[in-house]
């Protein structure tokens, strides 16, 4: 199998940039969401319950 490493590297960079943009969106949501709501979702994810 021949891999285009340049393509992979570009993809990795794009994914990282998309995740940074997602963090901006998440923080915007977090700021306008009551603590009781976001923390319930966070607990579910972190505690796995």
């Amino acid at each position: 199998m021949k891999l285009d490493l340049k393509e992979l590297e570009d993809d990795k960079k794009r994914n990282f940039e998309e995740r940074l943009k997602f963090i901006d969106l998440y923080v915007e949501w977090l700021k306008k969401t009551p603590n009781s709501v976001w923390s319930k979702q966070q607990k579910k994810l972190i505690d796995g319950k």
Partner: protein
Amino acid sequence: MELEFKDNKIIFSKEPTKLDNLAIQFSKILSYFNVKHIFLSGYIPILFGRNRASEDIDVVCGKISKEVFDKLWIEIHRDFDCIITDDVDNAYNNYLLKKTAIRFAYKGEFIPNIELKFVKTDLHKTALENPIIVELNEYKIPISPLEQQIAYKLYMTSEKDIEDARFLFKLFEEHLNKEKLIEYINILKIDLQTAKGYLGWSD
């Protein structure tokens, strides 16, 4: 998100995760023995809502005497085990005094765990002297200054760390001391324009 900023305090309430409960319980024990300590690194963004897992919580404390550590060790072992060594002398002499961390987990568990170490860098010393006190559900958790955390996360350079830095910057952008943040960025020899790019910081 409801956060109250008061002097060096950030006051808020949330439904605590297992990590929060671990941090609160451990902080209470250290405070009981008057051990100056700060929480730092990956737990800080998680404390304020970042959705990611972590297998440990980093805690730095001021150097304590063996006598105090012996008492602390007994108290900690009511609910926790040291997963590095079960010998108190070994923990103190061969780990903490040699600037190596020891880890405590709830009895019978391995993760999550508390990674405890003595103060070892100038950044730690500054943070211990100027902590932010987070009052979470009325429990006090001292944390490292946010400006220092953000700069240090950028210094660490992994994608996860840069994402943590971006999260903290965006969440606290209006409350950060930008001059102090730039000072930390310069101290850590991070290129300012690169840092601003990673943080999404536009003047």
